[in-house]
Symmetry: C3
Subunit: 254 residues, 3 copies
């Protein structure tokens, strides 16, 4: 294990590392981690191609960070189980080695050698496309989670909508017998832009996955348009990290 064979040598807070991994692990079991001198990035798409995610954390989000431009493959469940051994506030030391094809994980006095996965065996995470989505709201994560939970009581489809007159953003669902809507006017959002009425239907299942990765207290920037994907973005690690989700709309049978 020479210095040269080290692809990554970094120290990071346990909670921050969980913030990096959780948004990915709600969609896939294994992922490629892209490393370079300045940042660590993970991109993934679920097997059905419905939801994409991109997580980036700058070197400044680590306690210590040095990396070579490279790609490593990891088992996310295993990785998450190990870092859970550390209490909140613990530091995790990560060393990825090219020669041994391992990620050495040290947390508290636990020393774990995780075998890396050949990145070529893992599906590529696509670049998230740059689509114009005109209806935009910045809203507390807990408000989105609450709406998804309410929608789940009546349907497995969720409608996200913007109404231009009332300047409201709403999460709702129409069931066979019952309807539900959780509306957020200007007093319940940080910022809202509604050029026109907009509404689209998304899969409850995927929104529930995304919901697990959303911090309830953090602000989410959500943008969408009729019959278009919804994009949800938020920061973590004091602004040194960023998560972007993009979820395809469902075709409406009407």
């Amino acid at each position: 294990m020479s210095e040269d064979s080290q692809l990554l040598n970094a120290k990071i807070d346990v909670g921050t590392l969980q913030d990096v991994l959780t948004p990915i692990s709600v969609l896939v079991d294994e992922c490629k981690i892209n490393l370079d001198q300045n940042e660590l990035e993970i991109r993934a798409v679920d097997p059905a191609n419905v939801c994409m995610v991109d997580v980036t954390i700058q070197s400044s989000g680590f306690e210590e960070y040095s990396a070579q431009r490279s790609v490593i493959g990891v088992d996310l469940d295993r990785f998450q189980d190990i870092i859970k051994m550390g209490g909140s506030g613990s530091e995790v030391h990560l060393v990825a080695d090219k020669d041994t094809q391992t990620l050495q994980i040290e947390v508290e006095n636990v020393s774990y050698t995780l075998a890396l996965i050949d990145p070529d065996s893992i599906r590529d995470g696509p670049d998230i496309p740059n689509i114009d989505l005109d209806a935009q709201v910045e809203i507390e994560g807990s408000h989105i989670s609450q709406g998804i939970k309410a929608a789940g009581m009546v349907s497995d489809h969720v409608e996200l909508s913007f109404e231009s007159d009332s300047e409201e953003f709403a999460v709702g669902a129409e069931g066979d017998t019952d309807d539900v809507e959780v509306a957020h006017g200007e007093d319940r959002v940080e910022d809202i832009t509604v050029p026109d009425d907009a509404g689209s239907i998304y899969s409850l299942e995927y929104l529930e996955k995304v919901s697990k990765a959303i911090s309830s207290s953090e602000n989410i920037e959500l943008s969408m348009d009729s019959e278009k994907p919804v994009r949800m973005e938020f920061d973590f690690a004091d602004g040194n990290g960023r998560v972007i989700y993009m979820l395809a709309p469902r075709i409406q049978n009407s």
Copy 2:
């Protein structure tokens, strides 16, 4: 939706509404709610006709209350799931409409339209019969729950008994090999009346259901007699609401 078609327009604390619905939902899935200007009442009996319940809450137990004499039918699980969206201390706004046959439920910023059920399709809850039950005790709910739990360790039958000499009320059970008794003398009850020894056996299963609806800190008035039903009554909503259970005895094979 004209004013005239409103069968109910009321505001009530989330916790109080749960106190109304829980005693019913432990026995049945759907129920009729009887409305008039002064009170809301629900009566139900379990499918096997073993346990009856009557819950009444006066208009004074609501923040706001106006109702027409009418009967509406609701799905209890659905109703309870919705009001759980509100945090403790939240207010629920209920509007039942005859024309649309819906119950509109607003809690925090969730707006839910619950389809009403045709009351004729729901079994009638009988009036609880007025039977003389001479042995009476007023006792903390937690004491009853503890006795039922202890009895459940040895049998699926529970014996409730009053002993006149010692002025004690006891919850117990005889199993195949083991016995258990939880006795409550004068120091552990609020009030006790024991004209004669009395004892009867009841189904553990139903007492466990009732136990779920009993507040552990509230006082329960329990009255019974040998080979007769047991009646359990308690107040809620600062005395504006009342729950009455009546549970048939089991035939003793002896």
Copy 3:
């Protein structure tokens, strides 16, 4: 039920009685309790003869204690369920009677009659053999539990080892792809004696059972040697009680 037929008449704190029973119940469902004037002792071995346990509590560990030299048989699950009816800090009153073959258990106002089991129908717990085990460490229970948990992530075998150079005690495991080790140097142990390097492999399943009975804050005295059993001992009840486990090593396929 004469005085003479009383095999045991004792009062003991609920928590202390749980400390007596839990180390046994993780291995067997029924046990013999050996009584005499000075102490209560339980010995047991799991059905596969892999792990032995001996729990002793002196009469001074009870609030009140009087017993005749005798052996009684009890169902541990049932016994533990009953004492759980008492809140923390409650006192349990135990009266074992030879004539009725019952153990009368009073906790708070619950009175439970537990039928004793014929001791001849319960397998004898062997005396724990006195084997020289030279590598010794005194360490916080939580450190052992943490190591077992980490090992369980990669294998169903756990390696306990002592390294003489570094004076370290370690809990680890080698899996098919991943390895883990939790090392404890002098700064993380109370006391350590390492005459020579020593290492042996034990069953994860049994160490997890033992782990459930180990108090996380209590100090454990662990001693072992290569290809030999591991012995784990700890006090409870302010030094009036003592638990000794001895676990056989697994044969290494190498």
